[in-house]
Amino acid sequence: MVITNAKYIKNLEAENDCIEAIIDGIKMSVPLDTTNRHYTEILKQVADGDITIAEA
């Protein structure tokens, strides 16, 4: 999975609500849910030092 341009998106209550990222060439809104395969891959790539998630 090629992930770029990851950044947090805040909800109307100003809390981090999801991550917006380009995944395999498609802009996606990824929930902060560990049963979501895109989120688990983002966490893995962050842990591996391959990507960072920009603040909202």
Binding site: I9, N11, I23, D24, K27, S29, D33, N36, Y39
Partner: protein, 414 residues
């Protein structure tokens, strides 16, 4: 084997009496009017398996007959994800490339296979020298809570039988592997042979819990946790580098997906591969394919992927048909927030990843509608407070409008 011969006599009606030990009640068995073998234990076990397998929905796979293609039907480059047939993941880490698409069977092929559609793969860039870490495959991942009847992790763990139709430009040995992913991961590759090129062949493979005289699956590490995460992967290998070569038909905790006999399907741009009628069922006997109606299969696929477009419409098409229209209030407009919601057709497996498109096909955008005045394209859109059933969406700022309109895909695949 000792045999008892009953001599035929056209007018006879006698009963041969044999004293049976350990019972005081007479038992009369009527023999068939033919030379035959009375059912053995193997026969009755097979019959029991067959009867059990035909109860309810026996196919553990979804879209096994390749009916549903929500994402795309035409040739699509396939790298690391779901591209065409619903629920079937394609992965290519080789130096080559391949595409996938929907294949419509001819009447002759329908006559042979009993299936009207298949998943077709074509090599577009060859890789004649497979590095140790390279691989290409077709895979379906099964939700763990749908596998509890396998009783993995206990001594009563069940056999699984995979059956499918396959056709390829490259004959030889391929590997179809199952991976029990939950708790401890265990791998079981099994070879099958495509005997003739360009010919539909029916294959069956039985995966036993103790394959290779192992006890990995019948011990506690074999448990499949009862949840909505991945429980098992079924993988059809196309290419496997030597890092992934293991022993045929033997469970292992090492990441072995194939044997060294696996052909290199990526060897030429002339190569193609077709897969249809894939069924995974409990038991040691492959039974007839469980044909489910299109609406049932599509509904099951929607637990993992949904889109707002009409079924036949490609994602990102410039169209208003199927547009989700939500939020705001008619008559009033704002250049600030417009907020609304999306209800999914079906409760999804998990909170999905969302991709938005406006009516012009701009990804990551929505339309802001000023009713009766103008529909503005390429406007900002975001999601919040998402669940497997619905999500809030909002457009933060843009042209003065009262309603937000958007196409979407929702992806909760494993």
């Amino acid at each position: 084997m000792a045999k008892v011969k009953i001599q035929g006599h056209a007018s006879g009606s006698g009963i041969l009496t044999i004293t049976a030990p350990n019972t005081s009640t007479d038992r009369t068995i009527t023999l068939p009017d033919a030379t035959a073998t009375i059912a053995t234990t193997v026969d009755t076990n097979a019959l029991t398996t067959r009867v059990n397998a035909t109860n309810g929905r026996k196919n553990l796979l979804i879209n096994g007959d390749m009916q549903v293609f929500q994402r795309a039907t035409a040739a699509t480059a396939s790298t690391t994800t779901y591209k065409t047939a619903d629920r079937w993941m394609l992965y290519d880490s080789s130096s080559g490339a391949f595409t996938s698409e929907k294949y419509a069977m001819s009447l002759a092929e329908l006559n042979t296979t009993g299936h009207s559609q298949a998943l077709e793969l074509n090599v577009t860039t060859a890789d004649t020298s497979i590095a140790a870490g390279e691989f290409c495959f077709i895979r379906q991942i099964i939700e763990a809570q749908n596998l509890q009847q396998l009783q993995y992790g206990t001594a009563a763990a069940k056999d699984l039988t995979l059956s499918f139709w396959v056709k390829s430009k490259i004959a030889g040995i391929y590997c179809a592997q199952i991976l029990k992913t939950d708790s401890t991961a265990y791998f079981l590759p099994i070879e099958y042979t495509i005997n003739n090129v360009d010919t539909w062949e029916y294959k069956t493979i039985t995966y036993t819990p103790t394959a290779g005289s192992t006890s990995l699956i019948t011990n506690s590490g074999g448990v499949i946790t009862n949840d909505n995460n991945a429980g098992m992967q079924v993988t059809f290998g196309l290419v496997w580098g030597s890092d992934y070569h293991g022993t045929n038909n033997t469970w292992t905790s090492a990441a072995k997906y194939a044997t060294s006999n696996q052909v290199n399907w990526m060897s030429s741009t002339s190569n193609d591969f077709y897969l249809a009628g894939v069924q995974l069922e409990v038991g040691s006997v492959a039974t007839d394919f469980e044909h489910r109606s299109f609406d049932v299969e599509l509904d099951r696929c929607k637990r993992y992927f949904q889109k707002s477009y009409n079924y036949e419409t490609s994602i990102g098409t410039s169209t208003q048909i199927g547009f989700t229209t939500t939020g705001g209030h008619q008559g009033g407009t704002s250049t600030g927030y417009i907020e609304g919601g999306i209800e999914y057709d079906k409760v999804m497996r998990a909170v999905p990843s969302l991709t938005f498109y406006d009516h012009s096909g701009n990804a990551g955008k929505c339309a802001r509608l000023h009713c009766g005045v103008q529909r503005f394209a390429n406007e900002a859109i975001a999601a919040s407070n998402q669940s497997p059933e619905r999500t809030c969406i909002y457009s933060t700022t843009g042209n003065a409008a009262g309603i937000v309109q958007v196409h979407f895909t929702a992806d909760a695949e494993l």
